[in-house]
Amino acid sequence: MTEAAQRDDVLQGTLDMLVLKALSLEPMHGWGITERLQQWSRDVFQLNQGSLYPALYRLESQGFVRSEWKTTEHNRRARYYALTAAGRKRLAAERRTWQRASHAVNLILAVEAP
């Protein structure tokens, strides 16, 4: 397995959660999700934008999001994704896991060298 692929795997876990979080506010299209995440993270995340789509299809197949085609305010057709009830639950669960894990990581990093 290449190094790049490994990095993708690590990213994937958080990417799914971030996408679910973005969709928890309102249904939006893929571009909107990218914009929103960059804005929220104050441009810290330079995500490989194309990799968003496989993640979205996966989430849809797992039943966490559903999609439908709508027209944007600029009169273009775009696929809007929305969170399902299962997606909402999933987001809550992922958030708890993330918080526990990051709390633990922070605790470990906070330990001063003797």
């Binding site: 299209h29 893929g30 571009w31 990218t34 330079q46 490989n48 934008q49 194309g50 990799s51 968003l52 789509y53 496989p54 993640a55 299809y57 996966r58 849809e60 197949s61 559903r66 085609w69 273009r76 057709r77 775009a78 696929r79 399902t84 009830a85 299962a86």
Partner: protein, 885 residues
């Protein structure tokens, strides 16, 4: 690659076929939209369009890689959905095993019926010979104005061979000669073919041993006595000895040299006729004695031609038409000018089809009715089930399930049913095709018949298509309505009652169709019983034997000595109660009856009677009542005064005062003394009423001395079991004389009237299946109504309704459908049973007994199917019922 991964890959490829285009388009559009937005942002930020686009592409990343990853996600979604749907469907079917089994069996029976008929019609009428290039083969024959086909003859074949360029080969063949073949001291009757030398080449057959015929061996009549053995004959009579090639054998007493052996499996081209065991050149047709070989106008052989590469059937027709005057000159009886008929070689030989021609629409009609009934049943079942699942589906919608996904899940579930039903249908049809073709294995003289019979690729394709069509029609539609109903759940309650009524209408239609089938079945069954039992003689417990001393060229004196010896030997055997014999094709029903004028004086020729040449004890053996006088004795022979037994109708016609005995009757110009009067009996079962019959002693045949004879032996117990003993006894007397047609008389009757027997059995089975399905459907719909109205029934019982009124209430639902459907069924039957007329013996298409019996049968089944759930309704506990909701 693991097995699972492989299965997944295959399934995703299959699944992808339909969906990929849509998904792909959506994916591209979506990603393009993203790129456009990104580009626009860079442009707004002040970059030139080129640079903006470049930056956007970099930020988006490798589009091909993303697309691939996206495709993987889509694919795995489909496969996972499918697996999940299948499991879900399987579980939900397991929760309702009664529904699942009913649906699967109903589809299975419907498809089984359709495939069976398709296979049989295919093998009788449509299938080309299993030889290379079979589709370019055509038959050429004369067609008489009355529709009868006649052979073109070898002269016609050579004329066409020389002149018609649309054909690159023309074969002459006579594939149905019964030949006595003797070798190594063993004689047996075999079907032989006389063929032109190009026969084997055109059929693409190579010799298994030795060679086939040279062209020079078919140029001079009676000169080249050469023969090719069939593989089976070579194996059984020559022990598969390669040295058989070059040996001699006798064909009808003529010495021939064996030059080759045909490959295993090649049994000639007489589909629907007997398999060939031996082949000779057409110029050897003289061994059959009655051939007119070498004469113009001799229709000694059928013509088979192969279209030249690039030539079309219509070109061939044009060329033949140009030659029609010369060809017609070869047809005798020019007063009925025949037309040339050219037809692709498919199924059984065209001149043998007439007996079976009416079978195809009959079988087809029956299968169609069964399929319609099965479909109506499955449709009703699935719709009802869909409705009863409305709450479940509504729940899934409210949990956020996608509408398309729910429909797909329902379709998958139905695919499971359809697939299982289709598989069952194939199994059933394999069995039923075999059973039905059992009817065609032997003819009335005991010779085998062959068909190329198997479920082929086309039939399987047909099954798959039929399965899927059934599922598409009755799986998808109810699934769609289910979703709609679920979306408008409130509306559903009021519509459900209407659905029950809709199903009752469907049930009425099923009752009508079942009744039609049942009437047909009753008519055919009565017809078959009449054939077997109502002929004024008794066909049971009689064994038939045909002696053919003519095949070994015995003169009448020698043949009759032999016959006397056989009769006295068999009469002495245990369990034999009577032996009679006579002449004619078919023991009782003479296919070529001899009719003669009969009267009291030579000039009195007003009455024509069937003349039979029979032995002593003929009437007693067949249990035909002797009304007055005596039977023939062995003293009534050529030297004794001529005597006769007349049938009752002859006696009444000639001597109305009843004084027939001892009077003289003139038959064919000769005087006979009447010694007995027999009851009228049928000569041919279709003849009704029985015709006038005159019996003449076999030994005294004053018209033509007898050589061959047919024996009827009445036995105690099973006649089939006694046959081997009879053959042994006859062979001990004279091993040279061929003994054939050893069979119970009932078998001969059945084989003679295959269509009646087959029609009766198929109709009985079809009517049984239809009744079963209709009963099942009625049961289902009434049970469903009872379930829906449980509350109402509870209230009725609570306010004092008796169980009798409840049962009556429910019965009324089913009986209304039954009565209305039944009335319609009687009307349909009255209109359609005329189609059966060709198969009806001794009864009318409007036979009241058949109609009444069928109506009673349907009503009984309907009552029973309705009563079971109705009784359950009467047992509803009002307290429980009211608490249901």
């Amino acid at each position: 690659m693991s097995v699972v991964a492989r299965v997944r890959a295959v399934m995703s490829r299959l699944a992808g076929l339909g969906r990929r285009a849509d998904d792909e388009r959506a994916m591209r559009e979506e990603m393009q939209f993203h790129l456009d937005q990104l580009t626009r942002r860079h442009i707004t930020a002040g970059l030139p369009p080129d640079e903006a686009q470049r930056r956007a592409r970099i930020e988006f990343g490798g589009i091909v890689g993303h697309e691939e990853a996206a495709r993987d996600a889509l694919r795995s979604r489909f496969v996972e959905d499918l697996i999940r749907d299948l499991l879900y469907g399987w579980r939900s079917l397991c929760r309702h095993p009664a529904f699942a089994l009913t649906a699967v069996w109903t589809i299975g029976l419907g498809i089984g019926a359709a495939v069976t008929v398709f296979t049989i019609v295919d093998s009788i009428f449509l299938r080309p010979l299993p030889v290379p290039g079979a589709r370019r083969l055509v038959t050429i024959s004369f067609r008489r104005p009355n529709g009868r086909e006649e052979w073109l003859g070898s002269h016609g074949a050579s004329l066409i061979r020389a002149r018609a360029t649309a054909f690159d080969a023309v074969v002459a063949h006579d594939s149905r000669e019964v030949l006595l073949v003797s070798a190594h001291g063993v004689a047996s009757e075999r079907f032989g073919a006389f063929v032109s030398p190009n026969y084997f080449d055109v059929l693409g057959v190579r010799p298994y041993r030795g060679r086939f015929f040279f062209a020079s061996e078919d140029s001079v009549p009676d000169r080249d006595a050469v023969a090719v053995l069939g593989y089976d004959l070579w194996r059984t009579q020559f022990g598969a000895d390669p040295a058989a090639v070059g040996e001699h054998m006798q064909v009808r007493g003529h010495d021939v040299t064996i030059v080759g052996v045909a490959p295993p499996g090649f049994i000639g081209i007489s589909v629907g006729g007997a398999p060939n065991d031996v082949w000779l050149p057409t110029m050897m047709l003289g061994v059959t004695d009655d051939a007119c070989i070498g004469q113009i106008g001799c229709r000694d052989a059928a013509a088979l031609a192969r279209l030249a590469p690039g030539a079309t059937l219509s070109q061939a027709v044009t060329q033949l038409r140009a030659m029609s005057r010369e060809l017609n000159a070869m047809a005798f009886e020019r007063d009925t000018l025949p037309r040339l008929a050219i037809a692709p070689l498919r199924g059984m030989a065209t001149d043998q089809r007439s007996d079976y021609a009416a079978l195809a629409p009959l079988l087809g009609g029956i299968a169609l009715l069964l399929v319609v009934i099965a479909c109506a049943n499955v449709g009703g079942l699935l719709v009802t089930r869909g409705l009863s699942r409305a709450p479940e589906v509504a729940l899934r919608f409210s949990l956020g399930a996608d509408r398309g996904r729910v429909i797909r899940q329902l379709v998958t579930e139905n695919l499971l049913i359809g697939g299982a039903g289709g598989a069952l249908g194939i199994l059933l049809s394999v069995g039923s095709v075999r059973a039905l073709m059992g009817f065609f294995t032997k003819d009335s003289e005991g010779f085998p018949h062959f068909f190329y019979l198997s479920l082929d690729g086309r039939v399987l394709l047909f099954t798959v298509a039929a399965s899927l069509a059934t599922v598409a029609l009755f799986g998808v539609l109810p699934a769609v309505t289910t979703s709609r109903v679920a979306l408008a759940r409130h509306a559903a309650q009021s519509r459900i009652a209407g659905r029950g009524r809709g199903r009752l209408v469907l049930m009425g239609a099923q009752v009508a169709l079942s009744l039609t089938l049942l009437v047909g079945a009753a008519l055919m069954a009565r017809s078959f019983l009449a054939l077997m039992h109502r002929q004024r003689f008794d066909v049971s417990h009689v064994a038939l034997i045909r002696l053919r001393p003519e095949q070994v060229h015995y003169d009448p004196a020698r043949a009759q000595r032999f016959l006397r010896a056989v009769v006295s030997r068999i009469e002495g055997m245990p369990d034999v109660t009577g032996v009679a014999f006579g002449r004619g094709i078919g023991f009782l029903w003479d296919e070529g009856p001899i009719t003669m004028p009969v009267g009291r004086t030579p000039s009195d020729t007003a009455l024509t009677a069937y003349t039979r040449f029979v032995s002593p004890r003929f009437l007693a053996t067949l249990r035909i009542p002797l009304l007055r006088g005596r039977e023939f004795t062995s003293d009534d022979d050529a030297g004794a005064p001529r005597v006769t037994i007349v049938s009752e109708s002859v006696a009444r016609e000639l001597w109305p005062d009843g004084s027939a005995l001892d009077h003289t009757v003139v038959l064919g110009g000769k005087a006979f003394r009447v010694v007995g009067v027999a009851a009228d009996f049928a000569v041919h079962p279709i003849t009704s009423p029985a015709p006038p019959i005159v019996l003449v002693p076999f030994w005294q045949n004053a018209f033509q001395p007898e050589v061959d004879a047919r024996l009827a032996v009445r036995v105690r117990g099973d006649p089939a079991a006694a046959l081997a003993g009879f053959r042994r006894a006859i062979n001990e007397i004279d091993p040279v004389v061929p003994v054939t047609e050893l069979m119970p008389l009932t078998d001969q009757v059945r084989a003679n009237y295959t269509a009646v027997h087959l029609g009766a059995v198929v109709l009985l089975v079809a009517a049984g299946v239809a009744l079963f399905l209709t009963g099942l459907g009625l049961y289902g719909v009434i049970a469903y109504i009872v379930e829906r109205r449980t509350r109402e029934i509870g209230v009725r019982i609570a306010i004092g309704a008796t169980s009798f009124t409840i049962v009556a209430l429910m019965l009324r639902q089913g009986l209304t459908a039954t009565l209305v459907g039944g009335a319609a069924g009687i009307a349909i039957a009255a209109l359609s049973t005329r189609l059966l007329a060709a198969y009806l013996v001794g009864i009318e298409p409007g036979d009241r007994v058949a109609f009444i019996a069928a109506a009673l049968g349907v009503t009984a089944v309907a009552l029973f199917a309705t009563y079971l759930p109705a009784r359950r309704a009467a047992r509803v506990d009002p307290m429980m019922a009211l608490r249901v909701e």
